[in-house]
Symmetry: C2
Amino acid sequence: MTTSENGKARRRGRPGYDLETLLKAAAELFYERGYDGTSIQDLATRLGVAKSAIYHHVPSKEALLSLAVDRALDGLFAEVAKLEQVDGRAIDRIEHLVRGSVTVLVDELPFVTLLLRVRGNTETERNALARRREFDHLVTDLVAQAAAEGDLRADIDPAMTTRLLFGMVNSIIEWYRPQGGLTSADLAETVATVAFDGLRVRSA
Amino acid sequence: MTTSENGKARRRGRPGYDLETLLKAAAELFYERGYDGTSIQDLATRLGVAKSAIYHHVPSKEALLSLAVDRALDGLFAEVAKLEQVDGRAIDRIEHLVRGSVTVLVDELPFVTLLLRVRGNTETERNALARRREFDHLVTDLVAQAAAEGDLRADIDPAMTTRLLFGMVNSIIEWYRPQGGLTSADLAETVATVAFDGLRVRSA
């Protein structure tokens, strides 16, 4: 973007040198080879930069993992925070959260994909799992509330409902590709329709 | 089970020596460490047997992978074969297939879990992916037929419906544990209810 010899501008202009590119590449490599199977050297090779270029941004591999999973988790919790502005019934807040989660998943695809693969082998992974559980509990509480209000099925355990609902949402990472032309808004609409109203056509 | 010195009885009696135990352990290790990251020695160590005990059953690591993913795929295609006996409409056949798939998933949990992680790095994996695609196409054709018959939503692309439906079904591997007391029949019923009729309570 610039031919300036000014250090800051040069750094910004070189591919592979900005934190965003670095984080995406790290998330993809951690997903493909596992965290243990990925070295800072692997990442430098993938990006075509020196290891020192990576250490310019982050002190360690674990810091990269932490930034990557937090990107996904911060996005999901930002959607939770928005629910305070949703008046009305619990089912409306759940619908908002499902649509918001689909959007986060599409917008932060490599990070959410990595988050869903995390198994708790390091401190960072255990923290990420704890935040995922916190999110699940929030959803389960909302589901229970919506069932108590008579809007969601009361014959299914709220924790099970949450698992199946977010099982469907999270499965999007298996096939969604940004270049396919499907917008996150369209996808969010379809998922919400299927989850809340079902696939069956109702006779009038 | 026996103290006989007869070779056959001894083999059957020793833990880790039968093909079933071997396949389950292989599926779990391949899932945990990846196929490339797992050696026959790792498997022998996990089972507490000599490598020769494994080679008694299978000629290679790839043969183990093949048997393990075929266990899952054969189970799923057995459910497809049963559909010939389901009279009536396409939606009835899809419901049967969803319930059957949940049952296979629960009964063959380590094998389906492995199958869903396969990415196509070897000939065996590519064959497995081809059979998964064949299954998906079968479901998509049934969904299209049910939509044409007016029973399933026609406003959602059949391939997308199949992805979301089996996204929900497949997500069960993330949390289902056999010792939890939830039967596969109950789980199949819940999944079919949520997928076809939705989570929302309908006003009368």
